[in-house]
């Protein structure tokens, strides 16, 4: 079974600054996918970014980028130029390849962006 750990229950950052959220996972699989989801106060789960384990290049989506370290089983999310709308819970999630596309979630990090 896979486990996903987010060691930072809460973080805060000043608007326009950069923040990094940590995620580590444990698996014996070689082929898998990793995701970061954002959950604002509306409760809606929104996909932020995804990373395929077979790709060495780190994924980027506008102000969001990841640092994927496969050997260390680490998958951190960097948010640049933080905006007030980035205030939310952020969940790291693991998906095993070709196995029903099920997600295993970490416990989440609550991010507060301060004006």
């Amino acid at each position: 079974a896979q486990t996903v750990t987010q060691s930072q229950p809460e973080m805060s950052v000043q608007e326009a600054e950069t923040v990094t959220l940590s995620c580590t996972y444990d698996t014996s699989e070689n082929n898998y996918y990793l995701f970061w989801y954002k959950q604002p106060p509306s409760r809606q789960m929104i996909l932020v970014i995804r990373q395929e384990a077979y790709k060495q290049q780190n994924a980027t989506e506008n102000r969001f980028s990841v640092n994927f370290q496969k050997a260390a089983k680490s998958f951190s999310l960097k948010i640049s130029d933080s905006q007030l709308g980035d205030t939310a819970m952020y969940f790291c999630a693991f998906m095993k390849s070709n196995a029903g596309n099920m997600l295993t979630f970490g416990g989440g990090t609550r991010l507060m962006v301060k004006p």
Binding site: V4, Q6, P9, Y33, F35, S42, R43, Q44, M45, L47, R50, F91, A93, M95, S97, N98, G100, N101, M102, L103, T104, F105, G106, G107, G108
Partner: protein, 115 residues
Amino acid sequence: NAGVTQTPKFRVLKTGQSMTLLCAQDMNHEYMYWYRQDPGMGLRLIHYSVGEGTTAKGEVPDGYNVSRLKKQNFLLGLESAAPSQTSVYFCASTRSKTGLTYEQYFGPGTRLTVT
């Protein structure tokens, strides 16, 4: 497209009562999922379905039953509600294609309180 919708959005039950949560998707997705989210925690998989007429257990299936009679609908039933089932329930769906993995699309959630 409405995406993934959930009915109802809120519900209060007394211990021992039963209810059914309905999830519907209009994206012609093969796979569907039910998760629960307890306060301060990530989502945990209850049951899932990889196609019409098929269901399987997830991480926390006890006390729940599911059915997938139509491809677009996935029902979650609580036969005898318990206070431990107080939670927010999320439905999700995704495409399926051999050799590929797709992101999950989530519904808005159902907040269930069992007194």
